[in-house]
Symmetry: C2
Subunit: 323 residues, 2 copies
Amino acid sequence: MSNGTNVDNFENYIFENPFKGEPSNLYDAMNYIMQLGGKRMRPKLLLLSYRACGGNSFDNANRLALAIETFHNFSLVHDDIMDNAPIRRGKKTVHEVYDVPTAVLAGDNLFIKCFDLILNSQIHNTELLKEFTKMASLVCDGQQMDMNLPNQKQILEDDYLKMIELKTAVLPACALKIGAMAANASEQVADSFYQFGLNLGMAFQLQDDYLDSFGSEAQIGKQEGGDIIENKKTILYIHAEKNLRGEQLEEFKTWYNEPIRDQNMKVERVRHLFRTALSDVYLTEMKEAYEGKALEALQDCQLDETNRNAFLELFNALKQRVS
Amino acid sequence: MSNGTNVDNFENYIFENPFKGEPSNLYDAMNYIMQLGGKRMRPKLLLLSYRACGGNSFDNANRLALAIETFHNFSLVHDDIMDNAPIRRGKKTVHEVYDVPTAVLAGDNLFIKCFDLILNSQIHNTELLKEFTKMASLVCDGQQMDMNLPNQKQILEDDYLKMIELKTAVLPACALKIGAMAANASEQVADSFYQFGLNLGMAFQLQDDYLDSFGSEAQIGKQEGGDIIENKKTILYIHAEKNLRGEQLEEFKTWYNEPIRDQNMKVERVRHLFRTALSDVYLTEMKEAYEGKALEALQDCQLDETNRNAFLELFNALKQRVS
């Protein structure tokens, strides 16, 4: 990668630019989550669209990319508090290492630092800030929708899709759009990047749902069937509940409504019922439809061959991922 | 008040401009805290400095003022979670009415809406946004310092003063500076407003500390001596511990270190010991020194008579307040 961009090695940029300040326990907590790893997909998307649209000030683009990754980490810290999650990426979550109050504040301050980074990037403007702010609010809405789901008597497929759109897909969409905006792309190109990211994000989350229910422990690096064990109402659940009949529907409901001792048996039987209802096929077709829409949007991004290939490479890696 | 400003009735503006969105429980939680009342001192300060510096677009200034009040409410929601506080302004706190996860998100989204409001104010610019962002991060630092205090073996007066500066005083300072910046005041005038607000904020917090320990329940509308009962290490504690000697110091330490059954007796005796050490006098002199510095800074704000009188009226009201 030329031009001083960190597309392929954004990890280094994060470690070279820790957040600095006092009190040290607050900043340690912020840097702890930032340095916990991950695919760094979102900042990479921003840098790719920035480069594709002719941007050449990668010092500034790196700050925007770090803002996007910082926002993602802010949401992880607060989500983990809300979900009472002890583990993130195989390590203790921030509120476990420190405490809940420090984790609340570390999240708050990470979010503040996003604006600091954007405002110190010479390539920002009001429209870009509005785009970022709109995205941030939508992600909050999505997280609240997700928290509300278990209390809803019936969950419609559209509700679920809206929730994953807000909670997961608007962030990569915004990352791509901001990269394009920062490189002064036309509104049409910036919007096409947004659509590419939105549909890619939807496909990504559906693949996540698939792997969580059907992937092996070796593949996904965590307990198999976690969503099934936790009674999460994903697209697989919504589809199966709607399409199973008679004894199979009764069995399905029993697994989700009764206390279960043998969780392995539950995972095995629910997987079987998902397959019986063709819910796995349904999810896969839906995912492929989003992938198709993503590729369509990519056509409108006015890419030269080098950049189109870079995006297709990333697209295929995400499509074929098994973890 | 002319010119469409809401200086004296900002309360109405808040009720006329609730946050709107879905899911409704998230936005209900956000509006619940916003509509819980309070002095609305911070937005009022912003509008006063904006007017004093010749600003005349009060539609836009009101958005900035609402951003400042929204930031204050964001910090209250998260602080109440961290402090596990059940009551705020005589009503249940957000996490009590809703739940902790919703309160975390409501705080997050309130903070996001600050930027939304600023960005939709036609009188913002990059420097103003940077000022707001810097303030926000300092308030976080101050809250973490406050949370760290109980774990510190010895608390220096300077640590305590730095903590209240960050946690309490930078917000009114920033409100005044942003009002001036939005009205295109000179950097010197904007900085003088900042110093006025910072010193006013320090005096305000010291008066708060005084009232909390010495005010009657009728005055302060809550249990007398709350800080004493909760063993809070305010400036009174720090001064008394440093200046008491012999048996009096022993008695003082006993009240703070041993389990206490008779809290009324504790409040009475600790008040007596504060007075013996002249800690109340010390606090009052310190407060008056900050008030003096605030008035000095006000001299440099280039105010005409009308505006000087408006600020002095507010200053005297704050100075003489007993609640």
